[in-house]
């Protein structure tokens, strides 16, 4: 039995404003789920409906098999880390963490032990007497975390908890959060708009757009089998490059024609593409799947626009048919702006999308 089940839930704020249009999701016990999507896609609204801070317009929410759709927030047995922490400034760190335990009339010494334990877990055990105003942003974040963990909830919700931290701390907290999750095994839903955060933390990622789920999958699945152009473009930095090509079948080979290049692929391996004979399809190429090759074996040649060294790799950008294309190359390869380079694709790793529906064209070979 899943811990959390969202069955066809939706939220309408006013006549034409939908927070969430349709959402179906099952979260397994101990799972770490990340809701990922651009700002305004309905992640917060989903979270708030699960928490009961927002009434659903339609649908059912089950928590451990129990229908909680119309149960008040405080009785749902969930806890939450808010984006702006929402820790209470007039209470000490200790009082913040102990708040819900006191309301539950837990015995005093148990409260003390529990607060100390959770505070130690997030490394603020020595700050319990302080007021939130005397803490740094990162420490306040930890207080919010400890407060949520102390409840030992059935479900642990986090709405962009790291977005107010500086870049370096954010990466550190990512790792710590994951470690805490492995230790507590609390079923968690984590909201973010940062795809690298999602990739690094999630057991499964739920990608949302315009109030709907676009794809649910493990980080590898959403990266290597992006369900549509949106996902392929959203996941990964730099994002995928897209090329619209015309598909034609000639002398038994499939040829994909772009104004600047023509790709010929094996008709058996890519037999699904045959159905697109004489139609447009869209190729999605991740930056690492475009390769620099000697000019004589290149699919096309192009002049380098800019080179962005990153240390571990470098990003090379060029212009193709008026659009910027970015690729990742190893730091050993020496390229400079205005060099003319030969380029080719790692055909095995390319994504193909229907140009009308923008959906992935599933290839049978991928199932192998």
């Amino acid at each position: 039995m899943a811990t959390l089940e969202l069955i066809d839930i939706a939220k309408r704020f006013s006549k034409n404003v939908w927070g969430v249009k349709k959402m179906d999701l099952e979260v397994e016990e101990k799972e770490f789920i990340v809701l990922l999507g651009p700002s305004g896609c309905g992640k917060t609204t989903t979270m708030r409906m699960i928490a009961g801070l927002e009434e659903v317009t339609r649908g059912t929410i089950l928590l451990e098999g129990k229908d909680i759709t119309d149960i008040p927030t405080r009785d749902r047995g969930i806890s939450m880390v808010f984006q702006n922490y929402a820790i209470w400034p007039h209470m000490s760190v200790y009082e913040n963490i102990a708040f819900s335990l006191k309301l539950r009339r837990m015995p005093g010494n148990e409260i003390k032990a529990r607060v100390q334990k959770t505070a130690d877990m997030v490394k603020i055990g020595n700050l319990l007497k302080r007021l939130p105003g005397q803490l740094s942003g990162g420490q306040q974040q930890r207080v919010a975390l400890a407060r949520a963990l102390a409840v030992e909830p059935k479900l642990f919700l986090m709405d962009e908890p790291l977005s107010n931290l500086d870049a370096k701390l954010r990466v550190i907290m990512r790792t710590e959060l994951k470690a805490i999750h492995q230790q507590t095994q609390a079923t968690s839903i984590f909201v973010t708009h940062d795809q690298s955060e999602a990739m690094s933390m999630a057991d499964r990622i739920v990608i949302m757009k315009d109030g709907k789920i676009v794809q649910i999958g493990t980080p590898d699945e959403v990266y290597f089998k992006s369900a549509n152009i949106f996902v392929a473009g959203f996941i990964g930095t730099p994002p995928s490059n897209f090329f619209t090509v015309k598909c034609s079948v000639e002398n038994g080979g499939i040829s994909l024609q772009h104004p600047n290049f023509t790709l010929t692929v094996d008709p058996h391996e890519f037999k699904e593409l045959q159905e697109y004979r004489n139609k447009d399809i869209i190729i999605g190429a991740r930056p690492e799947d475009i390769l620099i090759v000697p000019k004589e074996s290149a699919a096309f040649t192009e002049k380098v626009l800019v080179v962005e060294p990153q240390g571990s790799h470098q990003v090379v950008a060029f212009k193709l048919n008026e659009r910027i294309v970015k690729m990742i190359v190893s730091p050993e390869i020496k390229v400079r702006p205005n060099d003319t380079i030969g380029l080719a694709f790692n055909v095995q790793r390319l994504h193909f999308f229907d140009s009308n529906t923008e959906k992935r064209i599933p290839l049978g070979r991928e199932e192998l």
Partner: protein, 360 residues
């Protein structure tokens, strides 16, 4: 489906009860104000001869003229009795003096114009034996006009009040605005003390300050002068101005000034070209707040004026001294209240902002 229906029902019930409560509150708030306005439009007849008093002023008066053996009789329609009631002299005849008196009576009591020629016209019609009825348009603003005519020095008092208000605005906005800016932009010793001045200043009753001020202003030659009064009002207004302007300046990021200074303006120039224009609406609100405070003040003005009273003093004396009918006094009150109400509604956003800016 059933659940959605239930949810909707619950929501509707919740909303309905909310709006019932709100309507109740609004009635309590609005009703007295409504009646203040309503009374100010009523004629003496409506105010004193209709019982229970009509809740809304009528826009016209209905008359009936009848001829009997002893002469002509005039009746007026009484809304609470739902019938014509005798109005004016027991009977009257076609006599120039009598008719002029009647014309005056109709004007005073019913706020209607009934020229003698018209009375004669109706008398002729009534001669046939059947009574004539006719409607006259009521002059709605008659009480307001009358208030300024009969109450001693009311027009001049308005002028005095305006002068006092203007001087108060100038004094409190300039002095308070400077302090408010210091408040918003600098840290200095005694800041907290100054912040509390609003409270300290109010702890000593205004009237008790006014009493020694009689002598002090007298020595300065400002007793019974608008300027003298505004000097006293400004004590309270300055402290409010500090709070308002401080919150206004706080809401303008320092970085905007700094940006201007980066591009080569001086600190004063930055203030002049960047901060001041942005602060202007807030400062205008502050001016209006001072206006309201000064325009509404009564008691210091009672103490500190003699021959040059302000408008509130005139209304106050009319009310306390029962110098006139209640409908007349309500007209004076409305005339006094209207500018204050309008200004308050204009600056409501800033009033809220002021209180969020500074706290004890």
């Amino acid at each position: 489906m059933n659940r959605m229906y239930k949810r909707q029902l619950r929501r509707s019930a919740k909303r309905a009860s909310l709006y019932i409560v709100i309507t109740g509150i609004l009635i309590i708030i609005i009703l007295p104000i409504f009646f203040l306005f309503s009374f100010s439009f009523m004629s003496d007849y409506e105010t004193y001869s209709e019982w229970p008093k009509p809740l809304v002023p009528s826009l016209k008066a209905e008359f009936k003229l009848d001829k009997e053996v002893d002469g002509y009789h005039l009746f007026i329609f009484n809304r609470s009795e739902n019938d014509f009631m005798p109005f004016g002299p027991l009977s009257f005849h076609d006599d120039a003096g009598e008719l002029e008196k009647l014309q005056e009576f109709v004007k005073r009591q019913a706020n209607c114009t009934l020229p003698v020629s018209k009375i004669r016209e109706y008398m002729h019609k009534a001669d046939s034996g059947t009574p004539v009825t006719f409607n006259l348009r009521k002059k709605l603003l008659a009480n307001y006009v009358l208030f300024f005519q009969v109450v001693n020095g009311a027009p001049k008092a308005v002028l005095n009040s305006l002068m006092v208000a203007l001087a108060t605005i100038v004094i409190s906005l300039s002095i308070g605005g400077m302090a408010g800016f210091a408040f918003a932009r600098y840290f200095f010793k005694g800041k907290n003390l100054l912040k509390l001045s609003v409270l300290f200043v109010r702890m000593f009753p205004a009237v008790s300050i006014a009493i020694p001020m009689v002598i002090i202003l007298g020595r300065m030659g400002l007793y019974d002068q608008p300027l003298g009064l505004s000097l006293v009002y400004s004590v309270g207004q300055i402290s409010m101005s500090i709070w308002i302007t401080a919150s206004v300046f706080m809401s303008i990021p320092v970085s905007l000034e700094e940006a201007a200074m980066v591009f080569g303006t001086s600190r004063v120039g930055a203030f002049w070209h960047i901060t001041l224009p942005l602060a202007l609406p807030g400062l205008a609100a502050c001016a209006m707040y001072s206006f309201i405070g000064s325009w509404n003040e009564v008691i210091s003005a009672v103490v500190l004026t003699q021959f040059n009273p302000t408008f509130p003093v005139v209304v106050y004396k009319a009310l306390v001294g029962s110098q006139g009918q209640i409908n007349l006094i309500t007209a004076g009150s409305v005339a006094q209240a209207l500018p204050a109400i309008i200004f308050t509604l204009i600056i409501r956003k800033y009033i809220i902002q002021m209180w969020s800016g500074v706290k004890v």
